[in-house]
Amino acid sequence: MTMAIDDTAARPDTAAPRRRASLAALIGLGPRDLALILAVALVAIAAWEFVPPALGVSRYIIPTFSQCLAEFGAMVTRDNLFGHTLHTLGTAVAGFLLGSAFGAACGYALGLSPLAERTLSPYILALQIAPKVAFAPLFIMWFGYTFVPGLLVTMLVVFFPILVNVLQSMKTVDRDLVNLARVYHMSRFAIFRKIELPSSLPNLFAGLRIGSTLAVIGVTVGELVGGNSGLGFLITYGEGQANTAMVFNAIGMLTVIGIALYAVVARLETRVLHWIRRS
């Protein structure tokens, strides 16, 4: 799919229609790109629908597209699919917001205190390398089969990329800008608020974009390991019932949540960072 997009994007003759198509322009694609993307989707769905039955693959291994659709309708009425989706979405958003807030706060605090940064950096590195999702069973032992473990795993996976990005930006602030502020007698806090904080925003948003995709992983693992609600729970439930279509659909909904979170962050980024020249 990616190859198809690059192929047409490289041709200059697609540049003009790209500007005209409003919906397509929104995502930076020309109508020709869109047509190709749709064609790929149609081919993939057709293959998904007809190839497994033709090869005699059972619906318990690979349910077809139409079987998944039918199961989707059943999940909505029978299993309260939207309730579970909302639960997962709520946990992901809450975990993302809390994890980002803590990550950014720690990043700025460490950036302001080189001594604390030097003292704590080996521990931060160790924690960053430790697979955060492996903490999920621990959290269940501590907090039981509630939404809390999912929330905590989400916070934990979101926390580090944001901390690291913010800290990095604090360490690479233009020294001449800081000197300029010092020549103007600005206090340490004013330098932070007027120079360092705004300088760090591009890096902060890079961290937030990474965090928004990781949040879905965190919440899924938390719900997979324990609990009785959320899409992660539906995956384990579907697995227990050998309902492969249910697992497929839950994965699909998780992807939708991830895309939505990412899109919101990306949209916010273009609004906040409007002062950066864009090509």
Binding site: D174, D176, L177, N179, L180, R182, V183, Y184, H185, M186, A190, K194, I195, P198, L201, H274, W275, I276, R277
Partner: protein, 259 residues
């Protein structure tokens, strides 16, 4: 009369005392800038020009000797000193007028008064219609003019210019030299212009101080006895200008050979 700025036997070394990596940037450096005078400092690269600027702006002190402004020793950043670098140092997230206001924000001024001063400075550099633009929407020359407006907004008594035109293309450079010269001489400011451009030193200044290679020290100083300090283009057409440039060229050549 007390000079606006005086460097008295200044030396600056970086690194631990006695360490083999200790580098002496400048030594035994003495010169003055009188009130209303524009003094150009030229020298080969690495002669400690930026070190001088940082010491005068109070970012760090000398290892030996003293830097005096109006006869008082510089102990830290001083509010009557303006400071401009090769980089425009505009804050990209602020509009042009907000950038001009930046230096005024530590003054006890009402917001409306800050805005009024900034607008007057923008009018002076003829960029008033760009007040609400962001730096990325401006050309390099316009950005450097905004940086000058920011520098002058705090009504400094001494302006330090560290190669302010060296990042610009030749044509923009000429235009800016002219507009800076006019603005600076109109406001009667004392200026220290650090540059490696010999022609620029002669056409923009009242006096030239020539430094040797590292460690930098004064090897020559002379007054530029030419008219049109407010118009470098007019001055550059005078035959005597080339004689001064040649003198600089010769001095620096000798200084380099000796180092």
């Amino acid at each position: 009369m007390t000079p606006k700025l005086e460097l008295r036997g200044v030396a600056k070394a970086f690194g631990e005392k006695g360490s083999p990596t200790r580098v002496t940037a400048v030594r035994d450096l003495s010169f003055t800038v009188a009130a209303g005078e524009l003094v150009a400092v030229v020298g080969p690269s690495g002669c400690g020009k930026s070190t001088i600027l940082n010491m005068v702006s109070g970012l760090y002190g000398p290892s030996e000797g003293a830097v005096l402004i109006d006869g008082a020793e510089v102990k830290g950043p001083r509010s009557e000193v303006g400071f401009m670098l090769q980089k425009d140092l505009l804050l990209p997230w602020r509009t042009v007028i907000e950038n001009v206001e930046f230096g005024l924000e530590t003054r006890k001024l009402p917001k409306a008064e800050r805005r009024r001063i900034a607008r007057a400075e923008l009018r002076r550099i003829r960029l008033e219609e760009f007040a609400d633009s962001y730096p990325y929407q401006l050309s390099g020359g316009m950005r450097q003019r905004v940086a000058l407006a920011r520098t002058l907004a705090i009504s400094p008594e001494l302006v330090l210019l560290d190669e302010p035109f060296s990042a610009l293309d030749a044509q923009t450079k000429l235009v800016l030299q002219k507009s800076f010269s006019r603005t600076l001489s109109e406001s009667g400011l004392s200026c220290l212009l650090i540059t490696h451009d010999l022609q620029e030193a002669v056409i923009m200044s009242d006096r030239v101080v020539v430094l040797s290679g590292r460690p930098g020290t004064v090897v020559d100083t002379f007054a530029v006895d030419l008219p049109h300090r407010d118009d470098p283009l007019a001055r550059s057409t005078l035959p005597a200008t080339q004689a001064y440039v040649k003198r600089l060229f010769d001095t620096l050549h000798i200084a380099e050979g000796a180092a």
